[in-house]
């Protein structure tokens, strides 16, 4: 299988001044990839894995593993920022962009302005639809050229790198379109409803 071209966010040689400019306030850079989970890592049988787009009434589309991997694949290279203050530069992900998911579901546009991610294991997190359009988010199945490790959200996770990384839901199962911005697992317990690292929106009220 040929690798698709890197579509966005590619930057050549790095210098430390560049690194500083890419590190949001209150963050520090790491080279490892810390794991933070709200629960045990689900072991998901790929034969039973499903991923769907829904709202309160409809299932717009559902893919099994084989169907999902037949969708258009995109590679991105991007920086990620965890609210626990670590940032990691130039992470490489491959998966299906939210735009391509909408298109594959036959949707000209998202049916509502907001979405709530539902995950294997019960985790939830909310993201405005606007923040997933035009290549800003994908459902990724590969990291750094390898299958996505279960500890890091495999088989598939959301990647929405311009928001704090708790928004990039691991083990994603379903994107539910919602009329209102519905707080998820951490958002209903004091974390910021939106979570922009450049504005340091860590907690409600920030």
């Amino acid at each position: 299988m040929s690798e698709p071209p890197v579509s966005r966010g590619f930057r050549g040689k790095q210098r430390s001044s560049d690194h500083a400019a890419r590190t949001p306030p209150g963050q520090h850079l790491v080279n490892d990839f810390p794991v933070l989970s709200a629960g045990p890592t689900p072991r998901i049988d790929l034969v039973k894995w499903r991923f769907a787009l829904t709202d309160g009434h409809n299932k717009f589309a559902e893919w099994d593993w084989e169907q999902f991997n037949a969708l258009p694949q995109t590679k991105i290279k991007t920086d990620i920022h965890c609210v626990t203050t670590w940032s990691k530069l130039d992470t490489e992900w491959r998966g299906v962009t939210f735009d391509d998911l909408l298109a594959a579901a036959g949707l000209d546009e998202a049916p509502t302005p907001f979405a709530l991610m539902h995950c294997y294991g019960g985790y939830t997190t909310n993201v405005p639809v606007e923040d997933m359009l035009e290549g800003k988010a994908m459902v990724a199945t590969r990291f750094a050229g390898e299958e996505l490790d279960p500890e890091h959200g495999g088989p598939a996770r959301l990647v929405v790198p311009h928001l704090y990384f708790w928004k990039s839901a691991k083990w994603i199962q379903r994107i539910e379109f919602t009329e209102t911005d519905t707080p998820g697992f951490w958002e209903e317990l004091g974390y910021h409803i939106y979570g922009d690292p450049w504005r340091e929106q860590r907690y409600a009220g920030d």
């Binding site: 520090h28 490892d32 810390p34 933070l36 626990t84 004091g190």
Partner: protein, 91 residues
């Protein structure tokens, strides 16, 4: 920088719990709303790392208590707990 591998045991959050609860809480018994097993909070499985304390029932993994400390205060959620039993003080 590294997070300790999760889960830890619930006692690892004793400091955070004692900031909120005036009683010695790690020994208090929680009845899980998922499976109805009762066990001390200290025996729960602790997830969440630096984001907050997510206590899961050691018997069924149901979330029984969540506790987050923000600069403003404490957020506590217990909808996964059927009840909390705290032993009366002996004095």
């Amino acid at each position: 920088m590294s997070e300790k591998p999760l889960p830890l045991d619930g006692n690892s959050a004793a400091g955070l719990l004692s900031e909120l609860f005036a009683v010695e809480i790690t020994g208090a018994s929680i009845t899980c709303d998922g499976c109805h097993h009762a066990a001390p909070i200290g025996a729960a499985r602790l997830y969440g790392g630096r984001m907050g304390a997510v206590f899961r029932c050691a018997h069924c993994e149901n979330v029984v208590v969540r506790l987050v400390r923000t600069p403003e205060g404490y957020w506590l959620e217990m909808k996964g707990a059927r009840s909390l039993f705290v032993q009366a003080r002996g004095d």
